[in-house]
Amino acid sequence: MNLNIYLVGVGGQGILTIGEILSSAAMEKDLPVFFYPSKGMAQRGGFVKAQLQIGKKNVGPNIIEKGSDIVFAMETSEALKAVRFAKPGGTFLLLANFWAPTDVILGKASYPELDKVIGEIQKSGAKLVLISDKDLPEYEGKKVADNIFMLGAAMKHSVLNKLFDSADIDRIVQNRWKRASASNHFAFQAGMDYQPQLIAGE
């Protein structure tokens, strides 16, 4: 089985980590992996995207438009940049975070409405799984890692579970950060159990 995954967000959110975890999971199963993260420069806070292709031996690094089985978008406005890469019938996970650029905060520039973003995603023909940032649970008084939570939700609502066992992903997540293993285990499970705000296009 081949799987194309497109990831977008803002530097510092941990979007690349999702790609790294899935790359490790694929490697454990001895599946061919091509993972192409493109972040800008050293600074935090810029647009970040990554493309992950699992299962094909020789691939071009750039996924064809309408070719991603799964899209992970961790920022509402940046999600728009992934829309044309979503496969009709695939899954588009949107974690509706807002990282407003300075000019938006100062009222000098506009920021797209969530409804508008949702509308654009639906036009792509992918199933939208909407995660509200307000729904993130806490573990021992601290909000859980949103990227791990999102990975849990993807495990439940996308074809990711056809390729991977949730127990394997959970183990990789726990081993990655020894000190946070309990909270990340919790985040991953909570993501799997989460009832998304909206599942549209099924």
Binding site: P32, F35, M41, Q43
Partner: protein, 624 residues
């Protein structure tokens, strides 16, 4: 052992499998990862270093290769411009030890800078250039490049583009080869190793041309370039090089749905674009009715196809850039192959299979990159802006010439301080030029520490000699930051574990004879502003060293030592005027419901917001 590695690391492993004695380079996206990964390894018999600039790295590498040992030299495409004076000269002389220059190009400019195609340099200096099509091949072709270099007795280029340089794949890691312990050669031969005299130069030129022809023969014997002729004659021949090869199969799979006859498709996938394989290209031209050339940036291979076509009396179509099908700008993907197939075979593949619908993307908010929270450069831009105001000048009248690195980010809002950017070190010469052109207001230049060492010092010497009226601000964050925190000569010794000597800019500048020299802390806004304003009023060359460690590195150090300060919002004083955000643009400042808030995960306690707030709503306190 299988590992998930980048193409950059693959170059490093491929070089280790060739037993390199030395690896050197200068950082530059997307090539940085090769030397960076070698520097993290324990290699007792291989010397690895970041050199001061690409030319220095290349000259050092020539010494190693002339002494008969194997050496890897790495750079981004812009670095080839810097090193090229030496590259062509060493190519003329040839070498005894295996000499591989790894260059990474960036079609689609993921990292800024000119979208230049380094193959042009290889052509100009008759040097072979290998182009791996996958990360696996980046290992094997790099190892082979050393053999090829020794066989032809001349340097060889290996070229990757961004997706392979920075992309990861799971590949088998080869064993490193033992490093040769043979005595260094000392060949005293002025006919080979100098350029003094027409006879010497023209003989070397002839030898060089022969070396490239020899490389072509060896590459053909090795079968690096793969020609798969279709079952039927008279179809379409596709020529592609490097990573572009990988998009062909995916496009053919799409074209299958539109009735493509696979038996009439022939493919020539190049792994050595220079010299172009005349033999195989001729075979393809003779076999096919139409040729599709897929190469990013410049149509180098395509031109050779035209020449061969003419020589062989081929009258068929050649689809590529020269007929206007493809652009010379940007990177390629499956889309380009589909467009080419459609045109060549009239397949009626609908545009919707490949054409972008960018309407969603156009709705996205603009996100100009700016400096990190706590970045010392923020303090310098703010102080420059304040100094201009203090002197009652208008910002549009004071030119601040910029340079490469994080220091250029002052071009963006909210600072709008820096005006321009050419190449490493150019800000100083530019400023001198503006001064001579008769600009009446003070002329400023800004430059980072690594860039100053790289290319700024000769320009400063020139400005000093000619007593130009300029203000130079060296923004010294003690690291080569933009490319991901490399050590440079000015990085203090206690910040790394290498046995390097520290070269202090604070001692270089006065030693050059600069009379007006100050050192400032960009976080001390009042002092920094006063010094810049004073410098702007004096004649001659004025140099200000604005020194404070890069916030990312300082935080890494600080998080080991524990936080000492905290910035707090005094809620009763804050009226949410957002002045702090509009002046600093710091991402740690987040407007709350009624008052400003500070994201503790991002705040680096630089105090810039504290200095801006005129209602005493921000305070810096010691952590108890």
């Amino acid at each position: 052992m299988k590992k998930l590695i980048t193409g950059n690391e693959a170059i490093a492993y491929g070089a280790l499998a060739a037993g390199i004695k030395v690896a050197c380079g200068y950082p530059g996206t997307p090539s940085t990862g090769a030397i960076a990964s070698l520097l993290t390894m324990d290699l007792p018999n291989t010397h690895v270093e970041w050199s001061t600039n690409e030319k220095v790295a290349f000259d050092l590498a020539s010494g190693v290769a002339w002494a008969g040992h194997r050496v890897l030299c790495t750079m981004k495409m812009s670095g080839v411009n810097v090193a090229y004076d030496s590259i062509i000269s060493t190519a003329y002389s040839g070498c005894d030890g295996g000499f591989v220059i790894y260059v990474a190009d960036d079609p689609g400019t993921n990292a800024g800078m000119c979208e230049q195609d380094s193959r042009g340099f290889a052509l100009m200096s008759d040097m072979p250039m290998l182009e791996p099509a996958s990360i696996e091949e980046a290992i094997s072709l790099t190892t082979y490049a050393f053999e090829l270099s020794e066989a032809i007795k001349g340097p060889v280029f290996v070229r990757l583009t961004t997706p392979l340089a920075n992309g990861f794949a799971s590949v088998e890691i080869p064993e490193p080869a033992p490093v040769s312990q043979a005595d260094a050669l000392l060949i005293h031969d002025i006919n080979r190793f100098t350029k003094a005299g027409a006879v010497i130069c023209m003989t070397q030129h002839r030898d060089l041309i022969k070396r490239l022809a020899h490389a072509g023969e060896l590459i053909e014997q090795k079968g690096l370039n793969r020609l798969d002729l279709g079952k039927k004659k008279g179809g379409l021949g596709i020529v592609a090089s490097g990573v572009t090869v990988q998009y062909i199969e995916e496009a053919l799979a799409v074209a299958d749905k539109y009735g493509i006859d696979r038996e009439k498709i022939s493919v020539l996938g190049l792994r050595a674009s220079i010299p172009t394989p005349k033999q195989q290209l001729s075979q393809l031209i003779d076999f096919c009715d139409k040729i599709l050339v897929l190469e990013e940036l410049e149509p180098h291979i395509e031109r050779d196809v035209y020449i061969l076509a003419r020589k062989r009396g081929y009258a068929g179509q050649i689809i590529g850039k020269i007929d206007g099908t493809f652009d010379r700008v940007g990177e390629y993907g499956t889309k380009h192959v589909l467009i080419g197939l459609n045109k060549a075979l009239s397949l009626n593949i609908p545009e919707s299979e490949y054409k972008s619908d960018t309407t969603a993307e156009e709705l996205a908010a603009a996100r100009p990159i700016t400096v990190c929270s706590g970045c010392p450069h923020r303090g310098t831009y703010m102080a420059i802006n304040r100094a201009i105001r203090k002197l009652k000048l208008k910002k549009q009248d004071v030119i601040v010439n910029g340079d490469i690195g994080c220091t250029i980010l002052g071009m963006n809002p909210p600072f709008n301080t820096v005006w321009n950017e050419i190449s490493m070190g150019a800000s100083i010469g530019l400023a001198q030029g503006f001064a001579y052109a008769g600009v009446k207001t003070p002329v400023l230049a800004t430059i980072g520490d690594s860039t100053f060492f790289h290319g700024g010092i000769p320009s400063l010497i020139n400005a000093i000699q000619h007593e130009a009226n300029i203000v130079l601000i060296i923004m010294d964050n003690e690291w080569t930051a933009m490319t991901g925190m490399q050590i440079n000569p000015g990085t203090p010794c206690d910040r790394h574990e290498k046995p390097y000597k520290h070269v202090d800019i604070a001692r270089i500048v006065p030693a050059l004879g600069v009379e007006h020299f100050w050192q400032i802390n960009p976080f001390d806004q009042d002092h920094a502003t006063d010094v810049i304003a004073e410098a702007m009023q004096l004649p001659g060359v004025k140099v200000i060293l604005s020194r404070q460690e890069c916030a990312i590195q300082a935080f890494r150090k600080g998080s080991k030592e524990g936080k000492k300060k905290i910035v707090r919002v005094v809620e009763e004083n804050c009226n949410l005027c957002k002045l702090c955000i509009s002046v600093t643009g710091c991402s740690a400042l987040v407007p709350g419901e009624k008052v400003m808030t500070i994201d503790p995960a991002l705040c680096r306690q630089c105090g810039m917001c504290v200095s801006v707030c005129n209602r005493n709503a921000m305070v810096m306190e010691d952590v108890k």
